[in-house]
Subunit: 337 residues, 2 copies
DNA sequence: GTGAAAGCGCTAACAC
DNA sequence: GTGTTAGCGCTTTCAC
């Protein structure tokens, strides 16, 4: 077990000073070719790898960026992680990952942990963070981007879309099909502005047509297949029984469709079911899912770009609004008579 | 823009030495309550956050672990990331993520990058890495765990299962149903021992019954829905036409099933289609997918535990073999007459 | 272009 | 217990 070689060892073997060795490695063009060659040979000979912590300390930069998601296994987040990671890597930043399982205090803890580790920027989902998150970020002077939502009121950098418009988009689609009894199946609305705004969008669209969304027709369940199943059962027990179930995410829809199948409820003949996100499975489930397409990859790319811009040029757009789109497929249809 | 306070500032404000301030923060029980209180007050007052790089340099530890996956958006990897992240977090390690898109050289580059950054351990998928990966890891003396496969021959730490047995399990299921003309749809086998071994398992099971797997009945496609679709078309063009298509991952199966639907091919009446992984969608697709269940969460948990054990106690089992299981659902059936 | 030396901010002996 | 101090390994002025 030999100690790892340091720059000093490389310099000694190459017969140059540590300064030159350092330059040969990080700025090869500031060094004479002969020196460069000697250093490179020494590096190879010793299998030298530079110490990242020491480098970070001297440079006062870590080139790492943290991202915190509600969960990592929902495809919408997985896809965005994929995009972010690729973007960051291309710019020589490293991605650190954490998840909070919809627990605000865990999110705060992760933010603090990231700050401790010296990340240079941070990516968060939504706008409903604990205020202490923003306070910590402000004190540490760390740039951040909130993804998925837009908070026009506050001064945060956001890359997202109007969740309210999304809810309205789907509600109008169903209202146009003649449905009047809608039920909404979402996740916990507390501390989740996405769920809240989407529901609000539905309510608004209904109100515009003189309809009301009864409080008991707003169902809350965890964002899982099982939540979708439970939500469907709850919806079927309502009076009046809804003819359309608007789910807050595709995952919930799949669970709901599956449960409907088990219960012998025809979709969409007896019940229309809609999703939100348009994950890749949505197009190939049976029946194919009517949903709202969210530009997930674009959220990832733009957020990463925005954050890097803040870090490197301290100049980036405050708000980036992305377009969403209704994707009508087979899981919704004309309201039953 | 004020410079961030350092430990020295905290110490000064608290009226103690940097040593005491440091102890108060990292080892509160080694310090008198009164001192602790003064330091804590100063920390709060200045909103002090310690510098991770300096800490890492002094401690010669970074408490971070790198994981490199083929892709991040396949649910099998997303689910394992979820498990790994939670496990690591509970033990106070931070997860760094990278993906290589099935490109060996990118994997090697990520490994080197991680080593540069001083990660204390590394998680990789499969056993078919570039030899330079192991060489770099050995030189840097960094422990690692290979997930998903077992390489009994080499000395690597592995947490996985027998991919060959998995292939055989599915082949036998189909052979028992009377199929004799099987086709295999997998990804590139070069540099992917999982794909290779699963196919080999199929071939072995067929051979045991006196059947041969023709080379042209082994289809290679990217691990995507589109790959599944293309694979199905290719399979239907084969002579003799297979009655069962064994897909190397559930993702491929979904694409294949979707294409079969479009082409008007009845599954499983005219063609049985099987998957591998048992991702959560498998149970609720139509028809429900027959597949091999892989203990994804367990792979993540055990790999994380194994790696931490190597880091902290330098003592961990070389190989951990996990059980897999055939899950027979509706996408496979009796061979057509 | 190159070498010497002064930090970067923290921890861990060590002496008191 | 607490203060003092010597590193941790690298980058970067600043002379030469």
């Amino acid at each position: 077990m030999i100690a790892r070689p340091k720059l000093r060892d490389v310099a000694r073997l190459a017969g140059v000073s540590v300064g030159s060795a350092s330059r040969a490695i990080s700025a090869p063009d500031q060094v004479r070719p002969a020196t460069l060659a000697k250093v490179e040979a020494a590096v190879r000979e010793l299998s030298y790898v530079r110490n990242g912590a020491a480098r970070a300390l001297a440079l006062r930069r870590t080139f790492s960026i943290g991202a915190i998601f509600p969960t990592l296994n929902n495809p919408i987040y997985a896809d965005s992680i994929q995009a972010i990671q690729q973007r960051l890597n291309a710019r020589n930043y490293q991605l650190l990952i954490a998840s909070h399982e919809y627990d605000r205090s865990r999110e705060l803890a992760s933010v603090r942990n990231f700050i401790d580790r010296g990340i240079e920027g941070i990516l968060l989902v939504g706008t409903d963070q604990d205020p202490a998150v923003f306070e910590a970020l402000r004190l540490a002077q760390i740039p951040y981007v909130l993804m998925w939502s837009l908070d026009e009121a506050a001064h945060h950098h956001c890359v997202g879309f109007s969740n309210e418009a999304g809810g309205a988009l789907m509600a109008n689609h169903l209202l146009d099909l003649g449905h009047t009894r809608l039920a909404v199946l979402g996740g916990q609305r507390q501390f989740n502005e996405r769920a809240r705004l989407r529901t609000q969008g539905v309510r608004g669209a209904m109100a515009a047509r003189g309809l009301a969304l009864a409080e008991d027709h707003i169902l809350e369940q965890p964002f899982t297949f099982e939540g979708g199943r439970a939500g469907l059962r709850a919806a079927m027990a309502l009076h009046p029984r809804p003819t359309a179930l608007l789910c807050g995410t595709d995952i919930l829809s799949f669970g709901a469709c599956d449960e409907a199948r088990r219960m012998g409820i025809e979709v969409p003949e007896q019940l229309s079911i809609s999703g939100f996100d348009d994950i890749s499975f949505a197009a190939m489930s049976v029946p194919a899912l009517t949903t709202v397409r969210v530009p997930i990859t674009q959220i990832g790319n733009s957020s990463a770009d925005n954050l890097i811009a803040q870090i490197e040029e301290s100049e980036a757009p405050r708000h980036e609004r992305l377009e969403i789109e209704l994707i009508a497929r087979a899981s919704t249809g004309i309201a039953p008579a």
